[in-house]
């Protein structure tokens, strides 16, 4: 019989779990394609390898990775503390709505202050949306998982109502979409002939900041403590309610920022199809990155790769778009399964407690 013994694996081994999970996903994914009657080797190559060698795809990688990294970094605060915000998608949408509304309100006004204002409004929007589950949990003990998730559906409907109502393009022939943002309300492009915008270095800076806070600051320590032993955290003087509000607030604000970047960056306007599941994919990114800011940077590129590769595969292999979420779900499964090797040592024979 095999038994488990608690054991903390060294940092190197912890680092390798995600890599094993990625390899296992490729294998299982290949099997899936075989079942669908596609060439597995070619499919894996198109999804995981080709985007790395095509210059356009390579720059797109950054564009997809940035929002994932920003959202996942925010989520990692709460996930470490056992605060489960799974409604980042909703906060992302609210960020886009609020930031976008500011951009539209300043339509035609040129000025360097417009973008920062939009970013602030977006963060405020995401923050406020996240405060709903936070306050309902601290005040009424309502489960934040379910509330934050319900608010995703509400946010999606809200966006759709707004772009067919108050935010609709007045010259847009009644199409449910807003005006295109003018120049001052659009993220500046950093590298010509790509879509690489200023949000990408900002994502990097956020990651570094998060690393500092999580590794070196008392706040990060308290987050870890609350996740590892809630009663010990209480004993140390950490207020659970304050942590719930802070964790949800940070992740909400960051998701909102990612939302406004998406609207003011690659999309350039508010449309009902703006949310493409970044908020949910970011959950996988956060876990794949081991809830570590730098790990999350790496993981955001891996998931961005599957998004871009998946899009290519849709055309070249006639694989349905949904195949990619199967991939992402499998990735998370394998990661969770392999985690057992980092948390336990597996022994032959019966072990136990005296």
């Amino acid at each position: 019989m095999l038994t488990l013994e608690p054991h903390r694996a060294g940092p190197v081994k912890q680092l390798f779990t995600p890599v094993w999970a990625i390899l296992a996903t490729m294998l299982a994914g290949g099997l899936l394609f075989l079942l669908l009657g596609k060439n597995p080797v070619e499919a894996i190559r198109i999804i995981f390898v080709d985007p790395l060698f095509d210059p356009f795809s390579r720059s797109e990688l950054f564009i997809k990775a940035a929002p994932l990294a920003i959202i996942a970094t925010g989520l990692s605060f709460g996930f470490r503390a056992g605060v489960w915000n799974i409604g980042a998608e909703g906060q992302f949408i609210l960020g886009a709505i609020c930031g976008g509304a500011v951009g539209l309100a300043f339509y035609g006004v040129e000025g360097v202050y417009v973008l920062p204002l939009m970013a602030l409004a977006g963060m405020a929007g995401g923050f406020a949306w996240a405060m709903i589950p936070a306050l309902l949990r601290t005040r009424f003990n309502a489960n934040e998982i379910l509330v934050s998730l319900m608010l995703v559906y509400v946010a999606t409907l809200l966006l759709s109502a707004l772009v067919s109502g108050p935010l609709r393009d007045p010259d847009g022939f009644n199409f449910p979409e807003s005006r295109q943002f003018h120049d001052s309300a659009t993220l500046p492009i950093l590298i010509e002939r790509t879509r690489i915008h200023i949000g990408i270095p900002i994502a990097f800076l956020i990651s570094v900041g998060a690393w500092l806070i999580l590794q070196r600051h008392v706040f990060g320590f308290h987050i870890k403590l609350m996740g590892a032993a809630p009663r010990a955290a209480h004993f140390a003087g950490v207020s659970t309610n304050r942590m719930v509000v802070l964790c949800l607030g940070i992740s909400g604000a960051l998701a909102g920022l990612a939302g406004v970047f998406e609207a003011a960056g690659p999309v350039g306007q508010l449309v009902p199809s703006l949310p493409t599941g970044y908020g949910f994919t970011a959950i996988i990114v956060a876990f794949l990155g081991r809830l570590q800011p730098l790990g999350i940077l790496f993981a955001s590129f891996v998931l961005a790769l599957t998004i871009i590769g998946g899009e290519t595969a849709q055309f070249s292999l006639q694989i349905p778009a949904a195949a990619i979420s199967v991939f992402q779900g499998m990735l998370l499964f394998f990661l969770l399964a392999f985690d057992i090797f980092t948390r336990f040592r597996i022994r032959r024979g019966v072990a136990g407690v005296a």
Binding site: F140, A142, S164, I283, G329, A337
Partner: protein, 385 residues
């Protein structure tokens, strides 16, 4: 007064909601009987999924993958029914598919000791993707008709006919399942063991019970039920296959378990309450009635709940209660006087907002929820021997 004390909040809130719905029907010339009959159909998928999840949670496991298992059930049931032309086989296939998916969750969380929240989320993401992939060739097809139970005389009887008879088989099957689940948990030894495992897995293990096996069985049952709930959607309620068609029903089922405070009959009432909200919202969209009435309804239900609570507890009248009733009446007269119309999107938010409202109302009384909630819910069990 005494009678009110004996009723539970779930009965009162659901009763009040259904009464409001009947009044709404009468005011707008829709037969309340037909409304109620459609509520039963709307509630059915939620009831299956919620009862299944309730059993899972009673065993101490929190499976957040209900949405994923439901949609897999929806597609598996649909595909099987279309290819075999037997809707009943479809339901069986849906249950099996749901259970199979649930076993991934079971093995990850029970054997490999993975975090239940994360695994449940993964299950939902994976399920949604896989269903879309498998279901692609099936969109736009009509499934074979589901057999209706036709009890000639009874079905044609006025009022009670459409209300109690003439539903599809699954409705009666659902009622039987709720009864069986209740009896299983209350009277059987296995049911008692399952509850014990959910209370304290270490103590149950010390008594020699196989915690992991019991939990795996519960998880499989929960998956099968969610799968059937999904099949009900795709084969009977809609009936069609479309990507993402569960639209949060699985998550609402999770909230219904909280609403029902982990008791089968109350969970069933919760399913009817949400069925009611959905039907009301759909009818209001169709009749283009001002959505302000929805807010009035929400306020009304909250006021009823607060009133019941304050009647139960002796002491001065709750200030909240008076305030809530005042706001309800005020909002009602506004809705009556200024029937503003707003886009349908806002009406579609109703089930999700209702879920949040219900969670808030039911969770606020911390001590009472804690007494009913399985004490080991979501905790990882590691065998030591």
């Amino acid at each position: 007064m005494e009678n009110i004390k004996n009723l539970n909040s779930q009965m009162i809130v659901t009763g009040a909601a259904l009464a409001a719905l009947a009044i709404f029907g009468l005011m707008n010339g829709i037969s309340p009987v037909l409304l109620f009959a459609s509520i039963i159909a709307a509630a059915q998928p939620l009831m299956f999924a919620a009862i299944g999840e309730m059993v899972v949670e009673k065993s101490g496991v929190l499976n957040l993958g209900v949405e994923g298992m439901m949609i897999i059930g929806a597609v598996a049931g649909f595909a099987t029914a279309v290819s075999t032309t037997s809707p009943l086989l479809g339901v069986v296939a849906a249950a099996l598919a749901g259970a199979a998916l649930a076993m991934i969750f079971g093995i990850l969380t029970q054997v490999l000791l993975a975090n239940q929240v994360a695994t449940g989320l993964a299950l939902t993401l994976f399920g949604l993707g896989l269903a879309a992939l498998v279901g692609q060739p099936f969109s736009g097809i009509k499934p074979p008709d589901f057999p209706e139970v036709d009890l000639i005389f009874l079905s044609d009887a006025p009022i009670i006919g459409p209300l109690f008879f003439g539903h599809d088989l699954m409705v009666y099957f659902g009622l039987i399942l709720v009864t069986l689940t209740w009896a299983f948990l209350t009277f059987t030894r296995t049911g008692l063991t399952l509850r014990a495992v959910g209370e304290d897995h270490d103590a149950a293990h010390a008594l020699g019970y196989n915690v992991i096996a019991i939990r795996l069985a519960a998880i499989a049952f929960g998956g099968a039920m969610a799968g059937m709930g999904g099949a009900y959607l795709s084969l009977i309620r809609v009936p069609q296959w479309s990507e993402g068609m569960t639209a949060g029903a699985g998550w609402i089922a999770l909230a219904i378990v909280v609403f029902g405070t982990w008791r089968p009959w109350r969970v069933m009432l919760g399913a009817y309450l949400f069925g009611g909200v959905t039907i009301l919202q759909l009818n209001m969209q169709a009749a283009s009635i001002t959505p302000l009435w929805l807010i009035v309804l929400g306020l009304f239900l909250a006021a009823v709940q607060v009133t019941v609570n304050s009647l139960r507890n002796p002491g001065p009248v709750d200030r909240w209660m008076v305030g809530l009733w005042a706001v309800t009446v005020a909002m009602g007269s506004i809705a009556q006087t200024y029937p503003i119309s707003i886009p349908t999107q806002y009406l579609s938010m109703a089930p999700y907002l209702a879920t949040i409202l219900v969670l808030v109302v039911m969770s606020a009384d911390k001590l009472r929820t804690n007494l009913n909630a399985p004490a080991a819910l979501g905790r990882v069990f590691q065998r030591s021997n």
